[in-house]
Structure formats: C-alpha cells, structure tokens
C-alpha cells in the first residue's frame, strides 16, 4: 500500500485494438473526492480510457492502481475491485429482464450472499478439521442481506423520486428515468469512485437536466467521479479538474478556468472553439 490520498493512479497506460494504438501513454492521479471531467473530440479515446479504469478493456501496458492495488495486473481478481467502481453507461444498460428494484438489488444481494455461502463452507471445513480459531465470524443471514438491499434500493429510489417505479420493467421508462435508475444501481454498491461515460448523450434534450441534477447531487455528497461529457457547462460547474484528451493522450489539464478560459494547447483552443 502506498501512502497517498490518491484513490486511482494511472501510470503509462496504453491500449491498442489490434494494430491501432488508441491510448498512447496516460498518467493520471485522482485524489479522493476529486471530480474529473474528460473532454475531447470524438474518437480520441475518452471512452476507452474510462473503460480501462475498471478494466472493462484490458490495458495493453501500464498500471492502474486502485486503492493501492494494480488492477491492470491480470492476476488480480478484478470483480472484487469493480464492486467499488461504479460505472454509468451512455446507453443506460439496465437489465431488461429485471424490474427496477431487481436491477438495483441484483448485484449487492448476489455478491453478499455468495460471500456468506463461502464463509459458511469455510467454517464447515474449519470445524471438520478442528481449526475453530480460523473460523470467519458470520453476523448476517441470507434474509437479512436481501432485506437490507431492498431497504437501500428503496431509499435510493425515493431519493431520485422513482419509488413508484420499483416494480416496473425498464422498457416502460423514459430515458431520463432509466439513466437515473442506472445511477442508483451503481450507488447501491456504495462505490468509492463513479465513472460516467457520456451519461446524457443518449437522452432527449428535455431529460438531460434531471440526470445532470442527480449527478451534481452525487458529486456534492463527496463522491470521487470521472465523467466523460460533451456538456461543457456542466463540466465547468461540477469538475475540479478538466482533462482535454486528443489522439490518445492527455493534451492539456487544469482547473475549469484554466482549460476553458485560458487554454494553452492549440488543439484545446481549436476544440473549444468548435463546441462552445
């Protein structure tokens, strides 16, 4: 473990798809509670970078320290770490075969129950081999896990004002509702970091506001966040730091004022001229 308040440290990250190198060496430290917005032209590798942060794309080289552990190392059990890294997709990706409540509860219940089952099996063998001192204390039951997850899910649904949709299937919801539920689903895992990949790009304009409001709320709660976005106003308002990516590298970074008002890199200037 390293002594630092950085929750994520990216070192020399590259990613290639076949012959094409999409990320060409990225270094980035993200401190706890920091909000980072990534902007840049289409195809410059923003999504790929974000997806590398939870290893949805396996990095080609480099390391990604999350909480001091290099999750780019293939020997690491990535699933354990992904539980603490929430991800919100452009296309929402709610589970179509589950209702809203099940969408939120599925992963927490499954993972905790699995852990409980493992502990029970472990304890069984401890008893068998008379090694009682190695037993894992069990404080919960499958019912309690389910109950807690349900309570937490309902709490989140109440918070986003969609408690009445708990039993509804995703196909009946509006885009804005889907995305807010997708955010709630990620929050239900109590993640340490949230990754957003253009969370409002697939939404009708009138629904962008409600989703941004929720993300802003989550930000104000102190969540560490990395947001890929085309909403420049929102990035300026919420982010502590703006990264401008271009052609697989971080071409410029700084506070919103620095990047938006006094961009140094000609490519940043060019890009901002086009989008602002």
């Amino acid at each position: 473990m390293k002594e630092s308040s950085n929750i994520i440290e990216v070192k020399g990250l590259t990613k290639s798809f076949g012959e094409t190198e999409v990320l060409k060496g990225i270094d980035l430290d993200i401190s706890e509670g920091e909000k980072i917005a990534i902007i840049g032209p289409s195809g410059c590798g923003k999504s790929t970078f974000l997806r590398c942060l939870n290893c949805m794309e396996d990095p080609t080289s480099g390391s990604i320290y999350f909480d001091g552990v290099d999750i780019a190392d293939v020997r690491v059990d990535i699933n354990v770490h992904r539980e603490h890294i929430g991800m919100v997709f452009q296309q929402f990706n709610l589970f179509n075969n589950k209702n809203v409540l099940q969408n939120i509860m599925l992963a927490p219940v499954h993972l905790q129950t699995k852990r409980l089952r493992r502990a029970k099996i472990h304890n069984f063998f401890c008893k068998l081999f008379r090694k009682k001192e190695k037993m894992i204390p069990i404080e919960t039951t499958a019912e309690r896990i389910e109950e807690n997850a349900r309570a937490r899910a309902m709490e989140l649904l109440n918070r986003i004002g969609l408690a009445d949709k708990a039993d509804v299937y995703p196909s009946t919801l509006s885009g804005g509702q889907k995305q807010r539920i997708a955010i709630a689903r990620a929050l239900a895992m109590n993640p340490k970091v949230m990754l957003f990949d253009e969370p409002t790009s697939a939404l009708d304009p009138e629904m962008v506001g409600e989703v941004l409001d929720l993300i802003r709320e989550v930000a104000n709660d102190g969540m560490t966040m990395v947001i890929v976005t085309h909403e420049m106003g929102f990035a300026r308002e919420v982010a502590d730091r703006i990264l401008f990516m271009s052609d697989g590298v971080i071409a410029e970074q700084g506070t919103p004022e620095q990047v938006f008002d006094h961009p140094q890199n000609p490519r940043t200037q060019q890009f901002l001229k086009c989008v602002l």
């Binding site: 699933n79 539980e83 991800m87 997709f89 589950k98 499954h110 993972l111 509804v168």
Partner: protein, 232 residues
Amino acid sequence: MKAFDVFYQQFITKGGYKTVLLGLLTTLQIAIIGLLIGIVLGTLIAVVKVIPKYKKLPKALNAICNVYVGFFRGTPMVVQLLIGYFVLMPALGISLDAVVVATIVFGLNSGAYVSEIMRAGIQSVDVGQLEAGRALGLPFSTAMLKIVIPQSIKNILPTLGNEFIVLVKDTSIVSFIAVTDLTKAFRQIGDANYEYIVPYLFLALVYLVIVMLITYLIKLMERRLKRSERKQ
C-alpha cells in the same frame, strides 16, 4: 373402399393401433429426450464459443467443440445412427437397447444444431447487458446466467421449437436400427396385407398433426414471451 376396409381391419380389429401407439410413444420419446440432451450439450458448446479465449483451456475446448459440431452437421443422421449401433457399440463391447442408441444419437446430433441456435440467441442480446453486470462486479458466469441467457431465451425458444419439429420428423429413420417408431408401426400394418396406400397416407397425416400441434404450442409460447416483456 377396399383398401380402407383392409386398413380398418388391421388397425382396429386386429389391434394394429397398439403398435402404432407404442411407435408414437417411441417417436416422441426419442425426439423429446434427444432434444433435452441437445439443449444441455448445445448450451455447453455455446458457452464455450462465447467465453473470451485468452487462456489455453477455452481454446482447447473450442477446438473440440468445432470437431464435434463439424462431424454431426457434416454427416447424415442415418449414417450417425448406423455408426453408433453397428460400429461403436460392438467396438466398445456394450449392448444397449436400440431405442437408447437412437436417443443418444439424436441428442448428440441435436446438440450440434442447438449450439448454433444458442450462440445466435446469446449474441442477439446487447453486449451492454453483460458489461453492466460485469461492471457491478458480477463474475462472467453469473452475468451470463442471470442476465444474458434469460434474455436470449426469447429468441432461442421459437428456433428450438423448429429444431424439435425437425427431430420428430427425423425419427422416421430409426427403423434403420430396428426401432419400432411411428413409421415402422404403419409399415407393419401395410406389410400384413401388402396394402400400403392407406397406412402411408395415414402416417403422413399423423406426422402432420403432430407438427401442427407443436407449431401451435410455439406460437402460444411466443405470444406469452412477448407479453411478459411488456408487463408493468
């Protein structure tokens, strides 16, 4: 009407219907159990085909599956049946009932076809569904079992119904290894008086009715599945 009278005599009075009913049972048994075996095998093969292949084991399994699917899709089922009964069984020194052999061959054969059905069904589900599950920390197997496969069923079931129809019709070849199925039962009725016209027309009618029945059930199922998607 003489031909019909002869058939009636043989079918009802002389108890030919009993053989036919037993034959029908055998036909359905081979098709149903064959399909079930096929579903299990096909699902396993489909999973091997969709799992990421960085490691050696999935690669090796994939190669085995390719050989298996290639063989069963590349040779006629009659030949597979003959090889199973007259080549493999003596070679392995085991003796199984011909119905059992037929069922196993049908299962193995349908496994090859079902694997393709399953694979197409799984790939018809948006990859975002799997990614969302994985991003929450669910292992590949759980995300597949709880999220992707249930959604693929909607696309798989109707095609699986068609596979069942194919199996039912294909059972008419099992008389090659001396199994008395529906076809053989009707042939025996014809053999009794060398009068085949009515028995064979009747045989076709029975197959037709069975297939229509299955088709109807598939339609019913499809409508059910569509409705469950819309439900509030």
